[in-house]
Symmetry: C2
């Protein structure tokens, strides 16, 4: 038997959240983003949950091949494109669309396509419109476009960028509209679909024209910012739960956990949860991070250990060894736990460890 910890995936929530993504972007086509093993939810489950998406997008060439093996027939997009020449065999074998974000990739494509005449590869040409991560500068974008357009083996070229502050549009250092304006200037006069929108744009900026939207975290029921997932009508697809495996009755003044960082002010009942940072629960979660035990909201106490952490059971009547513990899911959003730990729901969803058993709701 595995330990009591369990991740439960609700495929119907994936479907529901995809419907919301679509409803928010009428007329646009949807790349459901499934990188990082579908944000920790599993590729096979993502295929079922996102069957109505127009395509799946991810960054891992090996996982893209898995999606084909699992039966996904519709388009697949590699969001970082290919990393070396060998990946181009996968691109053609698995009929992948690829992002091109640097000139070396164009050179590889030229060399690869010169050797064959069968394939038409669809390209998503990425502009660095101010995030300064991947992509061509606006000045270099046009030349890259022309060079790709000249290749016999290139099919559609979608005009793509990525926004640094879609969740914070008035960011003083790089306002959303500045990135959009840079993008518009860079693509002026170029034909092709536009791909701009991530989850935050889909939820909060329907005014931005994007022929393709690329929702990620929202599909899993967490928020990209700008409001709670629930306020957008999203449903959590993952529930992480465990059990109480030990109880200590402690006197006032006693310490709990590594470093003895928590000292009780009064007598307390402290429960030990079979969940630690090696399960993916954040070690940064401080005392006071919310947890639900037997349906009662309480909080963590002391340092998170590798395999356990402690919770205050003083006001959870009837709590005992075996009591159910909700780490996140319906009733306690992953975003709230992440916020308490100084991070974002994205990180927690992706971090659930291989030793945690997964089941479907």
């Amino acid at each position: 038997m595995p330990r009591p910890i369990l991740a439960t995936i609700d495929i119907s929530a994936l479907r529901h959240n995809l419907r919301i993504a679509k409803a928010r972007a009428p007329g646009a086509r949807i790349w459901a983003v499934v990188k990082s093993n579908a944000y920790g939810h599993g590729l096979a489950r993502a295929i079922r949950g996102f069957a109505d998406a127009d395509g799946l997008a991810l960054i891992e060439p090996d996982y893209a091949m898995q999606l084909r093996e699992l039966g996904w027939q519709k388009p697949i997009l590699l969001l970082e494109g290919f990393f070396d020449m060998a990946d181009l065999d996968i691109v053609t074998a698995a009929r992948l669309e690829v992002t091109v974000h640097r000139v070396e990739q164009i050179a590889m494509l030229e060399a690869f396509l010169a050797m064959q005449t069968v394939t038409k590869v669809n390209i998503h040409l990425k502009m660095n419109s101010g995030m300064n991560r991947l992509g061509f500068t606006p000045d270099a974008f046009r030349a890259a476009h022309a060079r790709l357009r000249a290749l016999q083996g290139v099919g559609d070229i979608t005009l793509m960028t990525h926004l640094a502050n879609a969740d914070d549009p008035l960011n003083a250092r790089l306002p959303l509209q500045q990135q959009i304006a840079t993008f518009e200037r860079g693509i002026a006069g170029l034909a092709g679909d536009r791909s701009v929108a991530n989850s935050a744009v889909d939820l909060m900026h329907p005014e931005l024209r994007s022929d393709w939207v690329r929702p990620g975290v929202m599909l899993y029921g967490a928020t990209p910012g700008g409001g709670s997932a629930k306020s957008f009508g999203l449903r959590p697809a993952m529930t992480l739960s465990s059990q109480i495996i030990g109880i200590q009755h402690i006197a006032a003044g006693e310490a709990v956990g590594y470093g003895s960082r928590f000292i009780s002010a009064t007598p307390m009942i402290v429960g030990v949860v079979a969940c630690g940072y090696a399960d993916g629960y954040p070690r940064h979660a401080p005392t006071g991070t919310p947890v639900i035990v037997d349906g009662v909201r309480t909080e963590t106490v002391g340092r998170v250990s590798m395999d356990m952490f402690s919770v205050d059971l003083t006001n959870v009547p009837g709590a005992q060894v075996g009591s159910q513990v909700l780490l996140w899911g319906d009733g306690l959003s992953v975003d709230e736990v992440a916020h308490a730990a100084g991070t974002i729901g994205y990180e927690l969803l992706c971090a659930v460890a291989a030793r945690v058993p997964f089941v479907e709701a």
Copy 2:
């Protein structure tokens, strides 16, 4: 092809670190701790690296069974014991030794052992000597011991506790010596081996008598505190490396990454590394976290994204797309990276994600 990121495991480092653990604890027997998939290094590799250990200790009953299937013949200890009755079938089938830390486990053992007469189960009876996590209070310990001793099917009973502050022995809230004194009082007059020492005790407190030592993080070449791993002669067993996949030349005043949290003071060359928090790199790592590119020490810039982060290449001559990036390993300890991110090496080692390919050095 997978992405360029790669974890390389050096089995000889595991062996070397085990020899150090043994040399520090002359006469003691060694449980090499391999929970959490051998702190992310893999069970099969741990079996080879720790062949000279007296036993392997972990918390996952299903992984314990895997250790037997992989050919480990010597003792295996479940550090949290069994979670329910069904686990006891694994305990006997896989000849596991078990920690007993709560009275419910004794009741399960009584019920289970009453049904058969073949097995002798070795018990590690755990005392809560002040950490207030798992274990019997000193007062309850003696009764638990007597109840187990009365069982026909119980073999050896080892007297066990776990220290909250072995890395910080003068901790004002719970000094090391206070925990030891509590333990001594609780076991006074009881026969049996003592199991007290974790990595920090093994490295820093050889004066504490422990018949069994339970080194964990030190075996993987990271420090439990109290000094650098290197200062103890330990060698890192895991190297996490990747490559530069994009480069941006930015002007003074430009922003990098999500939230535009980093603004360049001068013109800079910024590289994008194929490694993000969904690979296990900590999202808490702030600008300035150390990274080595092409052998040159530099630092991160801006927010860590899910699949990438940026590094300053301004002073890394010749750095280009494809340049090798050392995230941690020989030359940059996981402890240093963890410290920069406000956590400990343990968390980073365990967090390396399933999508990262592993190879052996």
